[in-house]
């Protein structure tokens, strides 16, 4: 038996064991078996992906005896890469989940959580291997439904059911678009095999329809603005290791699907395809981070950052599609590499951040940043891990976010070589938007880390916080290691990614090395960087500063209180709040946010110089809900009310419908023959 098949069987079997164990065993044993099943399964998935990437082996497996068109699996470079993403995210989340789900025992259903967690991982692993439409759609739906059930685990918490319903509705709208896309793409070929779709030649109009349907379908999963509304609702209410998986891996399936359909099955298209993807990416990146800045719920903030990072990934993918259609395969490959690299990196650092936020939630039972603070002295390891994640997502060298965002920048700069002014200008604008996004992301994570971990605790819960169990720390440390390793070694990662892409949609097979000199020769347009050197530089600079401070400078050191204008006592009420931190940006972008403010002061009845209480409330206008979803929902509702008249509940009427339908079918059958 080939090693690929063996690894696949190993990982599927372990997921299945984990899922079954969740149903049979309870308590500690159940949690341990779930974690072991998911961990070994994920490691198997990771090994399978890594093996295929390293050796270029292609797995092929078909089970045509299954109903309909049967099961068909095949691993090419793209699948193998996403298997690595799934395995990495799954492994960290399952280790972490063992400790994290302890406090669910007796409160929520551990069976549901454990079983669905494994089912989700299993469907993710199978889905990226799917080689026909049916396999893809079935696993896609399995992924969506298991994620839905996972979001629902904390069902009695405020907002959970609403969030899950939104998720279900949006994801099924997307699923409908996907079914339509695959039906059109198959074009009457009832096997729905991807090989047939690749070789089929469709008229341009049909190809455009397929592309747009796929964009909607995969866009809902990826959380592209304006299809993102479910994401900041559903991700925060899920258990935190599930949030890590949802944000780190599940939404990436949208990216995978888009690349599979647009690049592989359709083989690329006219430039406007890439332009649309690029535009959506730029808008998602910028608006995602802008909305993240206004969030004071730690996990919602991270969820909006997922929207932002999917935007950055799509900037790379969109630029790749554009370059491909303009006949610049070198730059196109660079664009796709940038997108994929950022996909992997985002899976690591966003997984890490969600796990960190989960640890905070575990220790303090609140996600509200205004209730946190002072956790760095109480949970130093969690704080250190979160800091690494925050630095990585802020694209600070030498961590991984920097390497991939740099690649995206370089790709977009290459837009100057496109001989069409509209594309070149569009890419220049995208560069500007990405630059603004990166800057705002730093501001947002200064807020997220500073308010959550520094200064004094703002509530009794934060005061009592303790460091989380070892298994949760291990889960985070795995991803910390990946963030550092992926950041320092782009010269190893980039050639692997270029091999993964080779052959897709007519991209050149020649692997691109990591010189990061742009793969074209125009005098003056080169850019090089080496995160490893930057890392060494940072280390040297840090050591040098420490040496200078210790040896050369004045050694007398006094540690005093924080200066609080001489007030006798320092209280947490004097601290900078998250709202206050974001206030300047809220003013700058007031046109976008349209904030509503409500300040009510309760004075003492005798004198207005004595204030009994002050309440301040401020909200940001939910544009997308108001302008897009409310009209859509009311139209749907109206249509449903009208359809309701047909379904009157009368048996006689239904019998009449059936008779009419039968007659109509007979007539049609007669006619068409």
């Amino acid at each position: 038996m080939a090693p690929e098949l063996l690894l696949l069987a190993l990982s599927v079997a372990n997921y299945a064991v984990g899922a079954l164990a969740a149903l049979i065993f309870r308590g500690m044993v159940g949690r341990a078996l779930v974690a072991v099943g998911a961990l070994v399964g994920s490691l198997g998935t990771l090994a399978l992906g890594a093996w295929c990437l390293a050796t270029g082996a292609t797995l092929a497996f078909a089970a045509p005896w299954l109903p309909l068109t049967g099961l068909a699996l095949r691993a090419d470079g793209l699948s193998a890469f996403f298997l690595v993403v799934v395995g990495l995210g799954g492994a960290a989340a399952s280790v972490y989940g063992f400790g994290y789900s302890a406090h669910y025992d007796g409160r929520y259903s551990l069976r549901l959580l454990g079983a669905m967690f494994n089912v989700l991982l299993l469907s993710l692993a199978i889905q990226v291997l799917a080689d026909n439409a049916l396999t893809f759609l079935v696993t896609w739906e399995a992924m969506s439904l298991s994620a839905y059930l996972l979001v629902l685990v904390e069902h009695d918490q405020h907002g959970t059911v609403r969030a899950a319903n939104w998720y279900l509705a949006v994801t099924h709208a997307g699923f409908a678009a996907l079914v339509a896309a695959f039906l059109v793409l198959a074009g009457g070929d009832m096997t729905g095999s991807f090989a047939a779709m690749r070789s089929a030649t469709l008229p341009p109009a049909t190809r455009n329809v397929v592309f747009l349907l796929a964009l909607v379908g995969f866009g809902t999963k990826a959380g592209v603005i304006p299809l993102h509304v479910w994401l900041p609702m559903a991700h925060p209410v899920a258990p935190s290791h599930v949030s890590a998986l949802l944000s780190g891996v599940v939404i990436k399936m949208g990216v995978y699907g888009l690349m599979r359909v647009a690049l592989d099955l359709l083989g690329g298209g006219p430039p406007w395809w890439g332009g649309v993807v690029l535009g959506l990416g730029a808008v998602s990146a910028l608006l995602g981070v802008l909305y993240a800045l206004m969030e004071h719920d730690l996990k919602r903030l991270l969820a909006y950052h997922s929207v932002e990072n999917v935007g950055i990934i799509l900037l790379g993918v969109g630029a790749g599609l554009m370059f491909q259609s303009y006949g610049l395969p070198g730059l196109a490959t660079l664009g796709f590499i940038a997108g994929l690299y950022h996909t992997l990196n985002h899976a690591c650092f966003k997984g890490l951040l969600f796990l960190g936020a989960g640890s905070v939630l575990y220790a303090t039972h609140t996600r509200n940043m205004e209730q946190l603070g002072g956790l760095i002295s109480r949970m130093p390891r969690t704080a250190a891990c979160f800091l690494v994640g925050a630095a990585a997502i802020s694209a600070l060298p030498p961590l991984n976010g920097f390497a991939s965002e740099w690649l995206v920048f370089q790709t977009l700069m290459g837009g100057a070589l496109v001989p069409h002014p509209e594309a070149a200008i569009g890419m220049a604008i995208a560069v500007a938007m990405l630059a603004l996004t990166s800057g705002l992301a730093v501001a947002c994570f200064v807020k997220a880390f500073g308010i959550t971990f520094l200064a004094l605790p703002r509530s009794a819960e934060a005061e009592r916080a303790r460091e989380v169990p070892t298994s949760m720390q291990v889960g985070m440390l795995v991803l910390v290691g990946m963030c550092v390793a992926l950041g320092l070694t782009p010269f190893l990662v980039v050639p692997v990614l270029s091999r993964a892409l080779a052959g897709l949609g007519g991209l050149p097979v020649t692997p691109i090395g990591f010189s990061l000199r742009l793969p074209f020769s125009v005098s003056g347009v080169t850019g090089e960087m080496s995160p490893l050197l930057v890392g060494v530089g940072v280390l040297l600079l840090g050591t040098l500063t420490a040496v200078v401070l210790r040896g050369v400078a004045d050694r007398r050191l006094r540690i005093g209180d924080t200066w609080g204008c001489g007030r006798v006592g320092q209280t947490p009420r004097m601290e900078y709040t998250a709202t206050a931190f974001a206030e300047p940006l809220r003013r700058v972008f007031a046109e976008l946010y349209r904030p509503t403010e409500d300040l009510s002061i309760d004075f003492h009845p005798k004198s207005k110089y004595f204030v009994r209480s002050i309440a301040y409330r401020s909200e940001v206008e939910p544009w997308f809900e108001r302008l897009l979803y409310t009209p859509l929902l009311s139209a749907l509702r109206g249509a449903a009310v009208r359809v309701r008249q047909v379904q009157a509940g009368s048996l006689h009427l239904y019998l009449a419908y059936m008779t009419i339908a039968l007659l109509a079918l007979l007539v049609v059958a007669r006619w068409s023959r």
Binding site: D554, R556, R558, G560, D561, W563, C565, G566, R567, V568
Partner: protein, 178 residues
């Protein structure tokens, strides 16, 4: 436009120095050269009102006004003791200001000097014996220079600052304490 019109219409309103006053400018110049030598920059001053009647504050404010304009001589008033080289303390120390004054002193980085401005800062003046007063400034924090007067003139305050600067450690021997 209105602004320019106003500027043109009003013209220069600062008064020339009275005879005998130019030596104040000389003192300020001395402060400047001394600060430059000792610190390599402007001297940063944090003013603390420990319970003064605000007479001294009016004179200190006069230092930064159009007549003396002390900023041009590198005499810089700062908003936080964290930035300060020199504390300018006025008034008798009241009970409410005792802890803030101490905290301000502790928050000021070394090396630092303290100038107590006005008679009250030294003797508590008319407030001596009041239930609200802790005592003179040197009862709470170490004082380097007292400036007499009720209130002292800006020139006296400048001389006080100049004297106090001498008590800063010399630049060569920075390590040997303040």
């Amino acid at each position: 436009m209105l602004l320019f019109y106003k500027i043109l219409k009003v013209g220069v309103v600062t008064e020339p120095l009275a005879p005998g006053e130019p030596d104040v400018i000389e003192v300020a110049r001395e402060v400047e050269t001394k600060a430059r030598r000792l610190l390599g920059r402007a001297v940063a001053i944090r003013e603390v009102d420990a319970g003064s009647c605000n007479g001294c504050e009016i004179e200190i404010t006069g230092l930064t006004g159009p007549v003396y304009d002390s900023e041009r001589f590198g005499i810089h008033f700062v908003a936080s003791p964290r930035h300060a080289d020199l504390l300018l303390v006025t008034g008798p120390v009241t009970r409410n200001m005792e802890v803030p004054l101490l905290k301000t002193y502790e928050a000021t980085p070394d090396p630092k000097v303290v100038v107590a401005v006005g008679d009250c800062a030294r003797t508590c003046g008319v407030f001596r014996g009041s239930y609200a007063v802790v005592g003179s400034v040197d009862a709470v924090i170490p004082v380097d220079v007292f400036v007499n007067g009720c209130p002292p003139e800006p020139a006296d305050i400048l001389r006080g600052i100049l004297t106090a600067l001498d008590r800063l450690p010399q630049r060569k021997g920075r390590g040997d304490g303040a």
